[in-house]
Assembly symmetry: C2
Homo-oligomer: 305 residues x 2
Amino acid sequence: MKRLAISVGDLNGVGFEIILKAHDRIKQFCDPIYCINYTMAHQAAMLLDTQIPNDFHMMKVSGEFTIQPGHVSAESGRYSFDSFVTAIDLAVSKVVDGIVTLPIHKEAWKLAGVDYVGHTDALRDILKADAIMMLGCDKLYVALYTEHIPLREVIEHIRSEPLYDFLIRLHHSLKRSPIAVLGINPHAGDHGVLGDEERFIEEAIQKANETIGETVFEGPIVPDVAFTPRSREYFKTVVAMYHDQGLAPLKALYFDEGINVSLGLPILRTSVDHGTAFDIAYEKKASILSYMNAVQFHSRDDNTK
Amino acid sequence: MKRLAISVGDLNGVGFEIILKAHDRIKQFCDPIYCINYTMAHQAAMLLDTQIPNDFHMMKVSGEFTIQPGHVSAESGRYSFDSFVTAIDLAVSKVVDGIVTLPIHKEAWKLAGVDYVGHTDALRDILKADAIMMLGCDKLYVALYTEHIPLREVIEHIRSEPLYDFLIRLHHSLKRSPIAVLGINPHAGDHGVLGDEERFIEEAIQKANETIGETVFEGPIVPDVAFTPRSREYFKTVVAMYHDQGLAPLKALYFDEGINVSLGLPILRTSVDHGTAFDIAYEKKASILSYMNAVQFHSRDDNTK
């Protein structure tokens, strides 16, 4: 059974409620170590009118503050970052096999002087490796070739060399096949009439398949056709050229069950794909579906290498 | 009951099969006039082992050729264009209240020397008016601000004046409200960090609502959040800034039932949102769902003005 370090996220949000609610169930799939100290765990449990289970293994994260459900605060931001770093340390030193992160609040990180826009950004810097961001669920995963950049900059990134590198890195950390590589223009350019960057995509796909020695990647696939029911029967993994191209259809289809996976790093990290949900914090309304999927991803040998 | 002119599309494809299959049902919603001559209708019916119903009203379209299921041909392209033009004429002269078009084949039009890339393009030129392309079904309609242009050109079109014009024109032909207007950048720019064109969108929305005198348009909405189940409960009409932003999620959700509506023209035209399906032409496999919705759109008074 895999050992997983679990960072608790922003304690003013829904993270710890999800952790407690799902604890008994995730024990079936993994051996969890929660990155939090007893005082904070106890305080959060009290707010939820419950207790910390006996078999709730914790890795101490120093610090103490008063939880304020739904509030953005520097203390909570700092604590969520420390919990995350503790989880990374456990994974780097091989005490655990991977990490699962609960949502942090960007503004709270900023208030705490943490200079990252999110988990993935921090992972890249701390581990000095270029993570690939993949979102979705077993029915459909979307890997993002470009991520959080303005749309106007996307087109400059559509070149065969860097895309080829991306595809090879993706293949090295992901077992799935076939993988659809989307075009960039409407109708994938319609033979060059609606844009011609598809030639770079075609080149990258061909070269990547040659390097690998089999046809793992297919495309460029027409972007608005790739997510239709018929296409999804065949392609359960998609490389999107930019953020909304992949995530708008993905979230339309599988909003509640989605997870966020960081691939291509020395450690495997999964995360829920929702935020801190401050509006329902400590109200016992949070869904554990995404979290369950994030945990189970680690135990599925058919996904990653 | 509305009178509708129905153009038969490419007779080498699935159009006429759909027409015959749905005839009895659409009579409940409209009074159809099919733009085809008896010889061609008879030939198509023979290929489908069936007969032309007695109450099958036709408007003669000259021409005769041998139907070749699944083939791209100049004759079939020409005939489909002539059928379409006949339908337009009937609408312009007020013999009918609107038109429904079955799919044509772009290559066949090209072979026939018809110099349009599709129905909408032809409508704009023939009627000398700027059509708005809207796709979807009653659960979700997506109006496209930009359509068939390369992605790299999209960003130049995101300016408040032309977007304002578009929103006003849309409001003048469409009754629906509220309408979500999407942002252009990931997370709708995230307060300018991921692109700043959202300020133009915001300006256009504000000005349009002022002109109208009520809040019809809302946004800029985060593009990958606009299509989630919760968002769809509220927004059943969306303005997308570009082709794949709106159509990828739409087709992921409602592929088979989608229709294509041309708004803002002197005549109302709806169409099935699928192609000629040459691979299953005359095999009695074609779905009539999209066609039924295209016909029924005309009889729904809550949609258009």
